[in-house]
């Protein structure tokens, strides 16, 4: 029996060390070959401060920006989660109804034009993408608020639409953060957001 225990302890220690080494090797590889992905695909300003990650949704409330999908975690990327609402839950259906009403009111569209992605919470609450139709739905509002031609905003959407990998894997989608940054670059940053940013820094 003591031999069994001795072997178990020795195996545990040596394989723990090797698994630790495995992580260090991967970390070294990642830092050398894919440094941007390794640190979380962060997007930075010219002064080096972090705006966010291109893989992580962030909250957009101002009418000048496109909105991401609803988040059960309120876009808190340090404590992510889905809603875990079952399909028949009355609270869930009420939340969906309220989101539909809000979009109908704000964007002046029919319910039938709203892709269900915009009224359902994503899996981790961090979905960085919306379907192209969901971006298109918001284009008129964004253009009107920014006082630019809607066709220029739609052109930006088209430019930022990713297609399925190899034609079949995944779905067509638009990265909301990248699209909004492109908006700011093309048409300028809304004044209020600029001031708030300066204060935050």
């Amino acid at each position: 029996m003591s031999k069994h225990i001795r072997q178990a302890i020795a195996f545990t220690v040596v394989s723990m060390v090797l698994v630790g080494l495995y992580h260090v090797v991967l970390w070294g590889f990642a830092s050398a070959v894919f440094p941007s992905q390794a640190e979380g695909s962060l997007i930075r300003r010219a002064d080096g401060t972090v705006i966010g990650s291109r893989l992580i949704a962030q909250k957009f409330e101002r009418p000048e920006y496109f909105r991401p999908r609803p988040s059960a975690a309120d876009y808190n990327a340090a404590s992510t989660s889905g809603s875990n609402y079952g399909p028949s839950n009355p609270d869930h259906l009420k939340a969906v109804r309220e989101r539909i009403d809000a979009i109908v009111k704000e964007d002046g569209v029919q319910a039938s034009q709203i892709p269900s992605e915009m009224v359902t919470a994503s899996g981790a609450g961090m979905d960085p993408h919306v379907p192209p139709a969901a971006a298109d739905l918001q284009a008129a509002r964004v253009a009107a608020t920014r006082k630019v031609d809607a066709s220029r905003v739609r052109a930006l959407i088209a430019e930022h639409t990713e297609t399925p990998t190899l034609g079949v894997l995944g779905r067509a989608r638009v990265n909301v953060l990248e699209l909004n940054l492109a908006l700011d670059q093309a048409f300028g940053t809304p004044v209020a957001a600029q001031e708030k940013n300066a204060n935050a820094r």
Partner: protein
């Protein structure tokens, strides 16, 4: 929607095609033949065996093999439990995570030691980087390897003729860990990093968003955990929402690779059986039987999720892309449904969509996958479960034609049948009795009608949440209807115990069975023998699995998902 079926079919076909190659590689590793990776990984194997103090030529019978297996797992349990309960004082903790409380640690460590990876904590707030490396991914390597080792020993027993020795546990464990999982995990991790999965020792990033708010973004040594989580049918995510999180599964391509990882080794185990017992036709029959259950489940699951939630359609929005609550745009409903079925027929348990929000019948598919628990199954153990059903099918078929049941030329007698029945009956008992107890506790302690207590959802869906939790524990799966408030003493202890018993009973009983069969002389097959490698037997096996494996769960299926489906219009 059409392209999603194409993507689903492409993923499954690619996995089947590659399982032949990996099955051959695994056969070579476990029978001591040369492979092209030997120059790098054989020295690691030698080093580990030398430090462990194992003579590679020393053979063990089924009892010694089982004792080595159990004691190694006890030691791993104690070591890792100690780490998580002390993680606050250990290095590599940039986000200042506190110690794990002992009850939650009991659940977590039992969960990871049993290859279940049920999680009552959330990774980004509950574990330091040290624990992610030396507890989570360490156990994800060695417990997956434990399952493979047991399966290899059992296959040797089946192939043996008057054999008393099944091999050496530590040799098999070391080979599985460092010559099977390590090279595959390195390869997959590199692909994951390329696709955008973080691999950093820095703490959470702090961003000032475009609108000027602060956003903390948790990250860490994610890539190293994600690959082995998928390959070892572990399923325990780095972050709470698992592979729905964009850092754990950033692109459609990473999703494809991770889906491949879930089934590749379970499929290759069947191929390896064919090579090791020298009966490729038997492997083909078992593989085809598994596919004949898996594929209809996938098609049905995809159709359910693509069909959307009728209650949301009724509100008039465009639901043409399927039910999207709890799902991610980059994967779509089809690939999420494929994952949901695949992760539960194998005992993986990772998710790329929140299962609690699946459509009622879409959510029934994961439950069925775990009730059967042998369609490809967990690395090693799912395959062992399948062998138990094979033995039972042989017995049933033997009774029907009035002959002594035989499998691979060995007589299957009362003693073996008792062990097979024990392994088989444990599973429904471990699910149904605790679920009944949980319902009783819920009904007597919460204030039914007033509060939901530990449930997130009312009605039959709430019942499904409790049923799912014990199903997942007993199947050593680890996925969950995560709306359940499961970090309580009741859930931590009850699911912890279910996981422990449901891991070791279905490993040790079949090891004993294999030991008994191995010791018997193999009689030559004659025209009168029952051929296990025939289509007729495949059909019998299919029927035995469906009838024996599912019928006893019919009542709870009706109370939960089916009732919800009928009510949702």
């Amino acid at each position: 929607m059409g392209t999603e079926y194409v993507a689903v079919a492409f993923t499954i076909l690619f996995t089947i095609a590659t399982s032949g190659l990996l099955g051959l590689y695994m056969t070579k590793v476990f029978t001591g033949k040369r492979t092209f990776l030997d120059p790098v990984f054989v020295p690691i194997e030698r080093l580990v065996l030398r430090v462990t103090g194992v003579d590679p030529d020393e053979q063990q019978d089924w009892k010694q093999y089982s004792v080595s297996l159990l004691i190694s797992n006890v030691v791993m349990w104690l070591a890792t439990w100690t780490i998580v309960t002390l993680q606050q004082y250990l290095p590599l903790n940039p986000d200042g995570i506190g110690n794990m409380e002992p009850g939650l640690a009991f659940n977590t460590i039992s969960s990871f030691t049993t290859n279940t990876n049920l999680q009552h904590y959330s990774g980004e707030t509950g574990l330091s980087y040290f624990s992610q490396m030396f507890v989570i991914s360490f156990l994800q390597f060695v417990t997956a390897a434990t399952g493979v080792a047991a399966a290899v020993a059992i296959i040797r027993g089946l192939a043996g003729n008057r054999l008393t020795q099944l091999g050496n546990f530590y040799v098999d464990l070391t080979r599985a860990t460092f010559r099977l999982f390590l090279p595959l995990a390195l390869f997959v991790s590199v692909l994951m990093i390329w696709q955008g999965v973080p691999m950093t020792f820095q703490g959470a990033a702090t961003a000032t968003t475009v609108e000027g708010a602060e956003q903390k973004i948790a990250r860490g040594v994610t890539a190293g955990v994600v690959s082995i989580k998928q390959l070892g049918t572990n399923g325990g995510g780095y972050f709470g929402p698992n592979s729905t999180h964009p850092f754990e599964n950033p692109t459609p391509l990473s999703n494809f690779i991770q889906t491949w990882c879930i089934t590749i080794i379970p499929m290759s185990m069947v191929v390896m059986l064919g090579y090791m017992v020298g009966r490729r036709k038997l492997a083909v029959v078992i593989f085809a039987t598994m596919l004949a259950i898996y594929l209809p489940m996938v098609v049905f699951g995809v159709a359910q999720e693509a069909g959307g939630n009728p209650a949301i359609s009724a509100m008039g929005v465009d639901q043409s892309t399927g039910s999207m609550e709890g799902k991610e745009v980059r994967f779509g409903a089809g690939m999420s449904a494929l994952w949901a079925v695949t992760t539960t027929v194998t005992s993986n348990g990772s998710v790329n969509a929140m299962h609690d929000s699946l459509t009622p019948l879409g959510g029934l598919m994961p439950l069925i996958g775990m009730w059967l628990n042998n369609i490809f199954g967990g690395v090693g153990v799912g395959f062992i479960n399948m062998l138990i059903f094979v033995i039972v099918a042989v017995f049933v078929a033997g009774m029907m034609i009035g002959r002594t049941p035989e499998f691979l030329g060995k007589k299957v007698e009362a003693k073996e049948m008792k062990l097979a029945s024990l392994a088989l009956l444990w599973h429904p008992l471990a699910i149904l009795i605790p679920t009944a107890i949980a319902c009783y506790v819920w009904a007597t302690t919460a204030d039914p009608g007033g509060t939901l207590g530990w449930l997130k959802n009312p009605g039959s869906h709430g019942f499904s949440e409790m049923l799912y939790e014990f199903t997942s524990s007993a199947a050593n799966n680890g996925s969950g209807f995560e709306g359940l408030g499961d970090n309580t003493l009741f859930w931590n202890v009850s699911t912890g115990l279910v996981m422990l018993f449901s891991r070791y009973i279905p490993i040790i009983a079949p090891l004993a069975l294999a030991g008994m069969l191995a010791a018997k002389p193999a009689s030559p097959e004659t025209a009168g023998s029952l051929r296990a490698d025939s289509a007729t037997f495949g059909f019998t096996l299919w029927a035995v699995i469906v009838v024996l494996g599912l019928l006893m769960f019919m009542p709870v299926a009706v109370l939960g998902p089916i009732a919800e489906h009928l009510a949702l219009k």
